[in-house]
């Protein structure tokens, strides 16, 4: 398993979608840090470097980050299909569940790496506003960007860390879903497209208020969840992730190549 996992992690960095994704999350925060019309549109001024990562996350969690996650997870398997290396590897004494499990682990790790780079890039982009204490909030706490008085640098960083970590956790089931759909369609584009279509469909299901708390798309807001709800939110995310991963493994094991 460790050989497979090392192989998959090495492959991850060679994927085009990973390189493009990382480039995007490095460039994207600059839009917020240097946007001239931010007050006109949102009615506030950025006063701290800690507010740039928050704005970045708030504006990308509903579409951009799920999209980047889905494309990369789908490409992890899709590139093997496109290169023809999938059968070649499966002819070695490797079990199919182990091989796919290594891919699923790599796909799980990707959102954490993506968001770590995003957070770092956003902090660097916001450096012009300074890293000291400030009057206001990070945008990821209960008091929003306006805050409730002075906020220390440590408290701001803790809020950002918590928010980004929860956001990465919430993206994991999307990665599993993309792998699952790629197993079904046997190509990366089909896998990523089906994942995004599923997410859009789920977003439409908010018209059924009783369903809303259970939807995967609702969990994408986990970064803003109150601490009291966290165990429920994480359990639901884990359930979605485990379900999609299990379906992917079962389907993959019976697939003809």
């Amino acid at each position: 398993m460790s050989v497979l996992l090392r192989m998959e992690l090495a492959k991850l960095w060679r994927l085009t979608s990973v390189r493009v994704g990382l480039l995007l999350v490095i460039v994207f925060p600059l839009l917020w840090a240097y946007a001239p019309g931010i007050f006109d549109v949102y009615g506030f001024f950025l006063v701290s470097a800690y507010q740039v990562p928050a704005l970045g996350l708030l504006s990308s969690m509903q579409f951009l980050l799920p999209l980047l996650t889905a494309i990369t997870a789908a490409e992890l398997l899709g590139v093997e299909i496109a290169n023809g290396t999938l059968p070649t590897i499966l002819l070695r004494p490797v079990t199919r569940p182990n091989w796919l499990a290594a891919k699923l682990v790599a796909a799980t790790l990707y959102p954490f790496v993506l968001l770590a780079v995003f957070l770092l890039a956003a902090l660097v982009a916001g450096a012009q506003f300074g890293f000291g204490s400030f009057i206001g909030g990070t945008g990821l706490g209960e008091a929003g960007l306006l805050g409730s008085g002075s906020m220390s640098a440590g408290a701001a960083m803790a809020e950002l860390g918590r928010g980004y970590l929860l956001a990465a956790v919430a993206l994991v089931p999307i990665a599993m879903l993309a792998v699952m759909f790629t197993v079904v369609f046997m190509n990366a584009a089909g896998g990523a497209l089906a994942t995004m279509a599923t997410l859009i469909l789920m977003q439409l299901l908010i018209v059924f208020p009783r369903l809303e708390p259970f939807l995967l798309t609702t969990q994408l807001n986990a970064y803003a969840a109150p601490t009291s709800d966290l165990s429920w939110v994480i359990a639901l995310i884990a359930l979605y992730g485990a379900l999609f991963a299990a379906i992917a493994v079962v389907l993959f094991e019976r697939k003809d190549f």
């Binding site: 050989v3 497979l4 192989m7 492959k11 060679r14 290169n83 023809g84 290396t85 059968p87 070649t88 590897i89 499966l90 002819l91 070695r92 004494p93 490797v94 079990t95 199919r96 019976r254 003809d256 190549f257």
Partner: protein, 317 residues
């Protein structure tokens, strides 16, 4: 009977409503080279994928070294295979790095083995180049190198000669022949019928997923033909001789199989003693192309009721 290296029993594969392979039964013994030939779409690749465990049979059984590759994936330690044409590798890795990766997945190979197979397949000079810049023939040779890397007891290759120049083709066939001489069972699909005749042990002819004929080329290679002055007497004398395993009439000639290579010299003596002269004697070169055409054409005529010419694979029809 010893355990065959590769075997299938009534192997059937259905995709949707189409039966791609029907009741395919065969066995390949250690040291044999078994070729699958047939028109495009005959089911050769599907058989290869079913046997190697990549696809699941709809019905029937398959085994490698007596074990079902679907239920016992560890049996793939005994297997070296190329199922893609051209052989598939990670294009961003060098030839050597790709082989190292294969070695890791197989649980390791002895030191120097990677350099040895690269040298054997004449890829040493290109081993540090990325596979993405390899020619089709080089990829195919790297595929064979990967297949023989772990010294497997079973080799399965789908069109290993695809896209190769004559020298590379000869190299690959000589490597496969050597592997068979060392006891490896080789199963391959090919369109190169001339090469098949040169070194394969048996050939299966497939048409529409059905095994329509299995030709033992080993026996065919040992056949001789002669034109005697008296054909009936020649057949009678040879059939009764201990130097001859089999004799039969074909047109104006007698086709015979000597008991051994040494017995060949005695054959003309047997005939001379019986008063039969020999006008001409030659090895009976088996024309697999003609035989293939005839068998496939006959099968199509039987199935459709229409007699149509069949092109030899690779020729324009």
């Amino acid at each position: 009977m010893s355990t065959p290296a590769i075997a299938s029993e009534r192997l059937t594969k259905v995709y949707g409503k189409r039966q791609v392979v029907k009741d395919f039964t065969f066995r390949v013994n250690p040291g044999e080279v078994y070729a699958l030939v047939g028109p495009n779409g005959a089911g050769k690749t599907t058989v290869i994928r079913l046997v190697s465990g990549l696809a699941f049979p709809t019905s029937g059984t398959v085994s490698i070294m007596g074990k079902d590759p679907h239920l016992r994936p560890e049996v793939r330690r005994e297997l070296g295979a190329v199922v893609e044409a051209p052989a598939a590798f990670y294009p961003y890795l060098t030839g050597r790095a790709n082989l190292q990766l294969h070695a890791s997945l197989a649980g390791g190979v002895e030191p120097g083995r990677i350099a040895e197979v690269l040298n054997l397949m004449e890829l040493s000079d290109a081993s540090e180049r990325k596979v993405g810049v390899y020619s089709l023939g080089m990829r195919q040779r790297l595929g064979v190198a990967a297949a023989i890397l772990t010294r497997p007891r079973v080799l399965i290759l789908d069109e290993p000669a695809s896209g190769m120049d004559p020298l590379s083709l000869h190299l690959v066939h000589s490597v496969l022949r050597k592997a068979a001489e060392e006891g490896t069972a080789v199963l391959l699909s090919t369109h190169h019928l001339d090469e098949v005749v040169a070194y394969c042990t048996r050939v299966a002819i497939l048409e529409e997923g059905v095994l329509i004929d299995e030709v033992n080329l080993f026996d065919r290679r040992e056949r001789y033909r002669l034109r005697p002055t008296n054909i009936d007497e020649a057949v009678r004398l040879l059939s009764a001789s201990p130097h001859v395993k089999h004799a039969s009439v074909r047109g104006t000639e007698v086709v015979f199989i000597p008991a051994s290579a040494k017995d060949l010299a005695a054959v003309t003596g047997v005939l001379a003693q019986g008063g039969v002269g020999v006008l001409e004697m030659n090895r009976d070169v088996f024309d697999l192309r003609a035989y293939y055409r005839e068998r496939v054409s006959a099968e199509r005529a039987r199935r459709t009721g229409v007699i149509e010419p069949v092109a030899y694979p690779g020729e324009a029809s």
